[in-house]
Symmetry: none
Subunit: 410 residues, 2 copies
């Protein structure tokens, strides 16, 4: 599945512009209540339907058949990276999602406030699900009192409920260390240890993390049930070749949520700030279209949230809202436009799913009057000329149609 | 993509005969001037249409989505070899294309006559595009005067214009050496060096090549603008398992052009000489059909040339000409017939392209009354029962339908 090196050898820089609109959780699944229709089948989306009729259409599989992807792997696949080979650590995704900036040497992690009893046994891994406001207070306390362990800086950021995330920032840190979370109540927390006892950087890091936990435990004593911290998902900034090197793109990302900005940053995109909603995003796309970028990634979040809520009707409405923006995107006359999702989030599943995602590749240079597709729906796209493809293949196809790939072999 | 070892373990020798007709550059793309039809859609090809209705049809991807293959990788894929794993060097393809025979120890290369000034700077990489006749003369001169460097024989053959190709033939030669072509005018030629300075065979070879260039430069002094040679694409005969070993075939190749004969030879086929055109080829196929071969590769070149010329109408005519030969092929009553191309060469692209190639697998033993396909066209084949497959999968399918593959596992 991974032909990144091949693509890199063949990539050609030219002036043509590719716009990739990622409608998060785009794909749906048939709902019994809706007479076995999907969100896209119920939605009144004439602009997307028209576009589909003139596009190369198909279904895209983010990771593999039957595999439900998280946002990280799903986006990496859309950006052309084998999502099994290139994994972004949980800690990294969490800190990116909270809007923290990472550097190459950082070790990121996810944390819970938890309850520990006088015998050192974890009695509640979620500290009685303390409210977010309490977590904000406690993170502030810890941040204020523990700025550094030796030369290693500690940065914390509260999440929702009992959750927080953080970064160890220093020299010679390693993410090859174990977690203290016993994953079951009634157990003592584990010691943080280097995975390989001979690994000096990991040993060094484990000692720093242990010291941090020890100091935090001291400070949290008065705050039962939130009198302990469980840390997991230790991970460094991933070593992923940048889009500039692989595709020779000058790429830019337009997104509202920090996690998607972070993902874009990991693959080398310039990230635009200041967008609060879809309308801001489309305006930003218009503003930047005359600038010397050649790959525009636009992330639309709301469809995923509504799918996760299981709110079929609201997801339909959101799709209809997005549909009204399609003419504005087309008015830019992009050399090539991709409309797809990172994964499916069917309302009936109330979460991400493994269902293939509709993908439409439109270019004014591709004559496609004969097309088996009449509507922008999962079932019609299954008969599209692209067939069912891995999401990693979308970008190579887009490059081919914009003449950005040289011939392979003589 | 590479299941060669699996196929090899399962391959069974039997009497059934597979005929693979490769129509070079078969696939097309919609032309605006032709009301968005492709060459196949415009062509009047009733025999191919009839065949399609009774065949397993689909689209084949030679290398990968979006990748435009050269003839080498495209053919290797048709012969079932992973075209990314098994690469045939540029020099090898060039000497094969010029009809030279290679042995296992040879190092092949491509060359240009070029112009060098008194300061040793390349002022024209193509020697003012000297005519072919001049290249013939100069190759003769060099061949006559430099037969050997030490024990290494040198064989040259003129190509078109300023181009030529050649072979270093001797013991302990390596193709792991750099090129002298600076790839830009205004630079001095590079020294030929071993890629790994510790590699003794490469060091030995680089010295021989340097000495050849030096002697050639001396001989070419009076022939400005063709007073220098640039060499590149050093490559040895590839180490590819033969079809006899992988498939247990007794294979034979029928082709007009040397490059395709060379490609067939590389994978172990017996190569038939003496064909000048399609009619010769079909006659040869008929003549050999009673002989004890079980895999017949027939290469039809002209469609590719006309596609590269951008001559839509001529490509259509050529397809119609080929269509008239289909009954003759069917009259042999082959156990299995594959009709496909190595890659697409749409007239609108004027070159090889990444577009999937129609593939039809016909056998009198396969009942195919229910078929979504009515015509031998790209769009109809996209709905064929095979779907879109990698070209490497065609041969295993053909083997399955001719009972040439044993069960895998118990």
């Amino acid at each position: 599945m991974d032909n990144l090196q091949l693509i890199k050898n063949l990539a050609i820089k030219n002036e043509k512009k590719i716009v990739m609109i990622v409608i998060d959780g785009l794909g749906g699944a048939p709902s019994y209540e809706k007479k076995f229709n999907t969100e896209l089948e119920v939605a009144n989306i004439p602009n997307l339907d028209n576009l589909a009729r003139e596009s190369l259409c198909g279904l895209a599989i983010p990771v593999d058949y039957g595999i439900t992807p998280g946002s990280g792997p799903a986006h990496l696949a859309l950006f052309g990276y084998d999502p099994v080979k290139y994994l972004i650590g949980r800690g990294v995704l969490e800190v990116l999602g909270l809007g923290m900036q990472m550097t190459k040497n950082d070790v990121a992690f996810r944390g819970n406030f938890a309850t520990i009893d006088e015998n050192g046994v974890i009695t509640d891994r979620r500290a009685g699900r303390i409210p977010t406001q309490k977590t904000v207070e406690l993170c502030n306390l810890l941040s204020e009192k523990i700025k550094k362990i030796n030369d290693t800086e500690i940065l914390l950021k509260p999440g929702k409920g009992h959750r927080f995330a953080g970064i160890f920032r220093g020299e010679e840190l390693s993410d090859s260390i174990t977690e203290n979370d016993p994953h079951k109540e009634g157990n003592k927390p584990h010691k943080i240890l280097p995975i390989d006892p001979e690994d000096k950087h990991a040993l060094h890091t484990s000692k720093i993390v242990e010291e941090f936990i020890s100091q935090a435990t001291e400070l949290l004593k008065p705050y039962k049930p939130a009198n302990y911290i469980l840390l997991r998902g230790f991970s460094k900034y991933p070593d992923i070749p940048r889009m500039q090197e692989v595709y020779k793109f000058t790429p830019v990302a337009i997104a509202v949520y920090p996690m998607y900005k972070g993902l874009a940053q990991i693959v080398g995109m310039e990230v635009v700030d200041g967008c609060e909603n879809i309308y801001d995003e489309i305006n930003k796309l218009k503003e930047l279209y005359s600038k010397p970028y050649d790959f525009y990634y636009v992330h639309i979040k709301d469809t995923d949230v509504l799918g996760e809520d299981g709110n079929f009707d609201a997801k339909v409405k959101k799709l209809e809202e997005i549909d009204k923006l399609i003419p504005e995107i087309l008015s830019l006359n992009p050399d090539l436009l991709i409309i797809t999702g990172d994964h499916s989030t069917p309302s009936v599943v109330k979460g991400h799913s493994w269902h293939p995602v509709p993908v439409a590749i439109y270019s004014k240079d591709i004559p496609t009057v004969k097309n088996n597709v009449n509507r922008f729906t999962e079932e019609e796209f299954s008969r599209g000329i692209l067939g069912t493809i891995y999401s990693t293949k979308i970008l190579p196809l887009a490059m081919a149609y914009t003449m950005k790939l040289d011939k392979y072999g003589a």
